[in-house]
Each structure stands twice: as C-alpha cells, then as structure tokens.
C-alpha cells in the first residue's frame, strides 16, 4: 500500500487531501506542523511526503533541512504543496531534496498523479 505523510497546518487541506488519498487506497499519516513531521520520520516513516511550505514554526524548507541534517530523507520522496507558483529564496540548495512540486490550488487527479508517480519509484 502506498504510504503518504501529509504535512500542512491548514486542517481543511489535511482533511481533504487525506480523504482523497485514502479513497485512492493510500495509507495516510497526517502531521499539522514540521515538528510532527520530524517525529513521524524519526519513527521510520518511508513513503511519499507531501509538504506545505508556509507553516508557523518550522516552514516546509526548514523542516526539510532538519530532516536532511538527521539523514532522514533516505527512504522518502518529498513533494511540495504550496500556494507559491515558484519557490522563494529560502529554497536555495534544496534541489536535491525536492522530488516534485504541486502549486495550490491543485485538483485531485493531479494530486493522485503526483503521488502515484513518486510512489511508483519507491521499494514496495
């Protein structure tokens, strides 16, 4: 089963994305902020990570930097979910860690395609 960790501070987004992905047959874990994402990853999450960028506390980019420092990106592919059409300066140097990028608002077929594409490369 495809495993997806959704990191977003907006509850309606979390719920809608979780609903769509579970309907698609994914095993979904939710994290409302960057610190919860770090906790899930330290517990050994492996799969696709959908990461919001603009979050209070740790931003999406800061979360990815923290994950990279702890060497926790070895078994995941990170797709950014963001209201920004293009990444800002904070994204400099993140090229090697970000697998895909999905600007909000996105439609569910695009979300599913993005998740299926990434999950297709992961060990089953």
């Amino acid at each position: 089963m495809k495993k997806v960790l959704v990191v977003d501070d907006e509850e309606p987004v979390l719920k809608a994305v979780a609903l769509a992905l579970r309907h698609h047959g994914c095993d979904v874990v939710l994290a409302p902020n960057g610190n919860r994402c770090l906790e899930e990853m330290r517990k050994g999450f492996a799969g696709v990570v959908l990461m919001d960028i603009m979050m209070p506390g740790l931003s999406g980019w800061q979360t990815i930097r923290a994950l990279a420092r702890e060497n926790l990106l070895q078994n995941v592919l990170v797709c950014m979910l963001t209201a920004r059409a293009t990444p800002g300066p904070e994204s400099e140097g993140m090229e090697e860690f970000v697998f895909d990028y999905l600007p909000k608002p996105f439609d569910f077929p695009t979300l599913i395609h993005c998740v299926d594409n990434a999950a297709g490369f992961l060990p089953s």
């Binding site: 592919l77 994204s91 140097g93 090697e96 895909d100 990028y101 993005c114 297709g120 490369f121």
Partner: protein, 212 residues
C-alpha cells in the same frame, strides 16, 4: 594523398541531452511514452535520490517500450540508445561518443549536475545534430550548459512555463538568451522527432525467419 574514407572515421551520433529536476520524472515518463526510437543517442540527467536510480530507469523502460539504461563509465552513445545518469557522480561525454562518470563535488548544489554534462559536449562533426532540452526544476542547473550547447550550434529547447511544475531552471536559461524554443512536453517530442529522425524498429527475432 590518400582520400579520407568516411567509413574509416568513427562518427559521433546525433546527441540529445535532456536535463530535469523537480517534477521532471512525470514529464520524462510522458515524453518517453510518446517517443519512437530516435536516430540519436539520448542522455537524461535528472536530479534523483540514489535509492530510486534503478526503479526510475526501469520505469522509463516500460514507458519507452525500449531499453533505457543507467549509464556506466565507458558506455557508447549510439543511435537509439537512451541512458540515465546515475546519482552521486557527474556524467560527462567524451568526444560526444562515450560516457564517463566522475566522482566530484556538487555543482549548483547537485550531483550529477546538468551543467557538467552539457559543458562536456564538444562541437559536433560530420553533420551530427546536437540538441539540448531543459525541463522543469528548481534552481539554475542546466542554464549555463544550455548556453554552452547553443554556442556549439545546438538546437536548444526549454519546457514552457505553463507545463512546468517549477519554472526555475528553464527560466534561468531563457534569461541567458540561449533558448530557441519554449514548448510543452508533447511539442518537445514532436520537435525531437523532426530534428533527429526516427530509426526503423528492428525486426523481432521471432519474425526474422518468416521474412528471410
């Protein structure tokens, strides 16, 4: 003086180098699904974590319905061949004919860097075509490489903004003034077919006896 016989000179094939990063795997899957066997060698440099190198090449193989190989040091670039640069080493081409892999520091924060590959290309000889394609991606990797290819007379194509997940790398190349066309993936494929030409499919082994 003895005339030079063309057949005595090992010629480099038409060469297409495709660079991609964030969002590039989706585009490459779609493009290879539309692409016939080209009269060109195709070298793909897509920023990828190492642990999915093999599954990415295998996935492109399925889409392309032809062999897509993870490049190895010394591999020969030939018409119809498609190679993917492996992670954690830079991938260069030697006299546009051979692949060479080199460990080295990251360039533009990545390894392999598209710039390193494209900047290793030399001017094509004997009329061989040279084409550079730069797909969606964050940052600026590939822009300087595309400018280098343009100076060598290559056809340069960037993915257009509307179809990019991130219009970063293509935008940097456009700003350098080295891009001939900005196109969505399906039109990039059409242009590659037009410029490189298509190889006849080999006769499947099981049909050869019938045809002979």
């Amino acid at each position: 003086m003895k005339p030079v016989v063309q057949a005595d000179v090992p010629s480099a094939p038409n060469l297409i180098i495709i660079g991609g990063s964030t969002g590039g795997t989706r585009v490459l899957s779609a493009m290879l699904g539309m692409l016939p066997r080209l009269r060109a060698a195709v070298l793909i440099v897509q920023h990828l974590p190492k642990f999915i190198n093999n599954s990415f090449a295998a996935s492109l193989c399925r889409e392309a319905r032809t062999e897509v190989r993870l490049a190895q040091d010394g591999d020969r670039l030939e018409d119809g061949s498609i190679y993917v640069a492996p992670s954690d080493v830079h991938c260069t081409v030697v006299r546009n004919r051979l692949i060479a892999l080199h460990p080295g520091p990251k360039v533009n924060y990545v390894c392999p860097a598209i710039d390193v590959t494209m900047q290793s290309v030399c001017a094509p000889r004997y009329g061989a075509r040279l084409i550079g394609v730069l797909l969606t991606g964050m940052g600026r990797d590939g822009a300087a490489g595309m400018a280098h290819l343009k100076k060598l007379g290559a056809l340069t194509i960037a993915q257009d903004e509307a179809s990019c997940a991130v219009y970063g790398m293509p935008a940097e190349a456009v700003q350098l003034g080295c891009i001939d066309y900005q196109l969505p993936p399906e039109r990039i494929v059409q242009l590659l077919i037009r410029e490189a030409g298509v190889l006849a499919r080999p006769i499947p082994a099981e049909n050869q006896a019938v045809n002979n």
